[in-house]
């Protein structure tokens, strides 16, 4: 398992690819950026992103105790993934 920087790099790379596909002005996304409210992902795309993280880092992301407000932000996804990796 790579550290938090590895997960963030992976997530940002997926964001860039998605943004390129749909013509979305991504800029330099902050940790607060909400992946769904921004329109970058729909709910199914978000599920695919999580699946990709799980496959890449061989873990199961557990969102059971996550704050619904931050759950779909860049930082929320990265934190949940790293926490799940530690718990495993």
């Amino acid at each position: 398992m790579q550290g938090i920087d590895g997960v963030r790099r992976f997530v940002l790379e997926r964001l860039r690819r998605r943004a390129q596909t749909i013509g979305f002005a991504l800029g330099d996304p902050s940790d607060d950026m909400n992946l769904m409210e921004s329109g970058l992902f729909d709910s199914l795309g978000f599920v695919e992103l999580i699946a990709a993280i799980e496959e890449e880092f061989e873990l199961e992301v557990d969102f059971a105790d996550v704050d619904p407000e931050t759950f779909t932000t860049v930082g929320g996804v990265v934190d949940s993934a790293v926490r799940s990796a530690k718990a495993a």
Partner: protein
């Protein structure tokens, strides 16, 4: 005003008869007002940090109703639109428009501007109530509107808008008016709301639902599930979707409290349900799938729920089981119904798998029609098929609308008499179903290429049309994914080309003309679209090609 303009202000309506007095008939708004009179200080609506009592919500509705009446001289249409979504503004607009005795037309600020303008033009509305969240859209929508509108907007926006759009009139929502003190006079046939659903020709179809249709549903369901003033109900569905009418009016005619689920919690609402001790849940089944996927659906994790209802998509038996484990004190029912039959018209109480008629291929049955409504499963000639055989499901009864809005041709196609049953009109749903020996109905699939994405009806033909326009290629279709499965995860555009495809510009075009949920996830290029023996695109073969491309890490 010219005669031709005047005639466009008078929409010809499919479902409205003469307004004869009907003593004793209570419309949708009357039920809310009765609950407000019985418990004015009870909480009616919670949106974010804001809670409105019945008295407060009623006052807002009656003020807006009075404002709409005051505009009657210049804008007389039976319908009033609102451009807002799941804000206090939006809920007050629904009630205010009904309080004025008009039918409401919900418009979503996130819908493509062309679609919003088309709905305004088709519905013939003269007055539009705009919430703060809809203001940004006006610059793109108003130039495409064919007639002069009167727009009710937040007070601080009036001057700026009036200076930019001289053709239209802007009125402050805070205009000094005396709130209405009597309920609206509506008949059974008056339109309560007009919704638009995806149409196979690429044009949205208007479905008018009358007060008679919707009060049949609301009164039946409220009584059936014994909704009480102490209940706390979820409000998950977008207001452009008829399942939201259940949320609002099953709740508000019972004096109960409605909790608007915030956008951030829509996909995974476990925390929201717990925090607010919700007692009644209503959503599309996909929500269960998301919560399972994110490992949020733990056994016993939703203890406050006493009733859970799912509708809008096929409900999978394993999902229903997982939900009941999480909500052990809840009943769970699967509801079924098209917009044309008002929200839902059949139900199946789920008590787990027993190897009987409760499910078919892992999909929970749609059960039996509500008391007083009728269902009939027929073959191509309209004759009822025997138990166990698949046919088209047809519906009839007080919940079924009389036809599409200003569209006699489509109305004639879909609203028919069945042979041997003279005098009774049946709505042909396009859904394939079968009936077990016990009379339980099971959903089999669709006759056409319509699919459900998160509960929204999407005609793949409409999406395919957008992909063809965006790609400039006649050889393109839209495919639901996974192909042939009851639960659709995504839509892909498939374009036959030898020169590569401009994915981005095709998707941008789709975004301009389709609602978000219908825009393809991605565009897949293939060498050619294989045809079957009838010369039609062989969708199964295309699905195999798409699978190869996706597996290759497209």
């Amino acid at each position: 005003m010219s005669d031709s303009l005047a005639s466009t202000l008078e929409p010809r309506r499919a479902s409205v008869g003469p307004a004869e007095p009907q003593p004793g008939f209570l419309g949708l708004y009357d039920g809310f007002e009765r609950a407000a009179a019985e418990g004015p200080d009870r909480p009616a609506l919670v949106v974010g940090d804001e809670t409105l009592t019945y008295a407060q919500l009623s006052l807002r509705a009656r003020r807006l109703g009075a404002l709409i009446h005051s505009l009657e001289a210049e804008q007389h249409s039976e319908l009033v639109a609102f451009l807002a979504t799941r804000s206090v503004h939006a809920y007050a607009a629904v009630l205010g428009i009904l309080a004025a005795g008009r039918g409401y037309v919900p418009l979503h600020p996130d819908f493509p501007n062309e679609r919003t303008a088309r709905m305004l033009n088709l519905s013939g509305v003269g007055i539009v109530v705009v919430g703060r969240e809809g203001l940004d859209r006006l610059a793109d929508v108003l130039p495409q509107v064919e007639r002069e509108l009167t727009l009710v907007v937040p007070a601080d926006a009036v001057d700026g808008l009036a200076a930019r759009f001289a053709r239209h009139r802007f009125v402050s929502e805070d205009e000094d008016v005396r709130p209405l003190d009597a309920g609206p006079s509506v008949t059974r046939d008056s339109t309560a709301y007009l919704l638009f659903t995806s149409g196979s020709t690429g044009l949205p179809k208007g479905v008018p639902i009358s007060h008679g249709n919707v009060t049949s549903y609301v009164d039946y369901v409220r009584t059936l599930y014994e909704i009480e003033p102490t209940d706390r109900l979820s409000q998950m569905f977008d207001l452009t979707f008829d399942l939201s009418v259940h949320d609002m009016f099953v709740c508000w005619t019972a004096g109960a409290c409605l909790f608007s689920v915030p956008a951030a919690s829509l996909m995974a609402p476990a925390g929201f349900i717990r925090k607010n001790d919700l007692t009644v849940w209503f959503s599309v089944p996909s929500v269960i799938g998301f919560m399972q996927r994110f490992r949020m659906l733990k056994p016993g994790s939703l203890p406050s729920l006493r009733l859970s209802l799912f509708c809008g998509e096929p409900l999978l038996a394993n999902m229903a089981d997982a939900w009941l484990e999480a909500a052990p004190d809840s009943r769970l029912e699967n509801l079924y119904g098209p917009t044309e039959a008002t929200i839902a018209i059949s139900r199946f109480p789920w008590t787990g798998s027993h190897g009987g008629p409760e499910s078919l291929h892992g999909v929970v049955s749609i059960g039996r029609v509500f008391e007083g409504q009728a269902a009939c499963i027929v073959d191509e000639r309209g004759a009822e098929v025997p138990a166990g055989e698949t046919g088209e499901l047809c519906l009839s009864g007080s919940q079924v609308t009389t036809g599409y809005f200003n569209d006699p041709k489509k109305t004639k196609e879909r609203f028919v008499e069945l042979p041997g049953r003279p005098g009774q009109v049946w709505y042909r749903t396009g859904d394939l179903a079968r009936r077990t020996d016990d009379g339980v109905m099971q959903y089999v699939g669709r006759l056409d290429q319509q699919v459900q994405v998160l509960g929204h009806r999407v005609e793949l033909a409409e999406v395919g049309q957008a992909v063809r326009e965006g790609s400039g290629s006649d050889s393109a279709i839209a495919l639901a994914w996974p192909h042939g499965e009851p639960q659709v995860e995504a839509i892909y555009g498939v374009v036959a080309t030898s020169n590569g495809i401009e994915t981005r510009s095709i998707l941008e075009h789709c975004k301009r003309c389709l609602p978000d949920y219908a825009v393809p996830r991605d565009i897949v290029g293939v060498e050619e679209l294989p045809l079957n023996a009838n010369g039609k695109v062989d969708r199964n073969a295309v699905a195999r090609m798409v699978k190869e491309v996706l597996n290759a890490g497209h």
